[in-house]
Amino acid sequence: MPRLDSVFHALSDSTRRSILRTVALGEQTVTEVAQPFQISLAAVSKHLNVLERANLIRREKRGSFQMVRINAMPMKEAGEWLAYYERFWNERLDEFEQFFKDKKDANEK
């Protein structure tokens, strides 16, 4: 799967988005990550696998704990692309819309 496809796939699930928001605030153990959800540790582990494949989180073994932390880079790429084109097309469309407004105003005079 192309990398950004896997990012957006990972983000298409509300539990995984919630996990990401939590670990964005600071690293946590897998048990801490699982705590707010009414699902099994195994189910949480599956969600973490999807997030890890998308390169959105990193897991690290520390003693008997497994720590989860965020990896923000793929988000940045997506955000930059979106921000650039949002501005570009908004400016274009504003000008386009204005052209027709001016034309209509001129016709009504």
Binding site: L4, D5, F8, L11, K76, L93, F96
Partner: protein, 138 residues
């Protein structure tokens, strides 16, 4: 097994005070302000299916090919530029009658897949801000 994949999509809407047919024609006319072609310093534009466009502004080149020209409802073309990192993205513009005017919708989809870019936490924060608009399912 989860098989759904989502690609990032940018969607913008405007209401234009003219008929869909007029708006359709205007979007393909480089003389009309607001069309992408209007800002070109150099331009090749052949707006028919499999027709090619090239336009450059301040030495930044944009290329594409038209994939749909369904007058007066829909225009679709691919879009390649340094900002798509050379990958082909897709722009779809639709025109729907709305009262006396036209509801114009522009969708730019197909996020380039790249290993480029440097990570910053602000990138992540930014994304969380824009994120609800992209995925409204929760």
């Amino acid at each position: 097994m989860e098989t759904t994949t989502k690609t990032l999509e940018l969607k913008l809407e405007r209401t234009i005070s003219a008929s869909p047919d007029e708006v359709y024609e205007a979007w393909l006319n480089p003389k009309i302000p607001g069309t992408p072609w209007n800002m070109a310093e150099k331009l090749i534009l052949n707006p028919e299916v499999d027709g090619f466009f090239y336009w450059a502004f301040k030495d930044i080149a944009h290329y594409g090919r038209f994939t749909k020209t369904e007058r007066p409802g829909r225009i679709q073309y691919t879009w390649v530029s340094p900002n798509t990192l050379g990958e082909e993205s897709t722009v779809t513009v639709t025109f729907k009658q709305q009262g006396d005017g036209t509801l114009m919708t522009l969708v730019h989809s197909g996020l380039p897949d790249t290993e480029n870019g440097r990570g910053h936490e602000d990138g992540w924060n930014y994304f969380l801000d824009i994120f609800p608009r992209q995925f409204k399912d929760g």
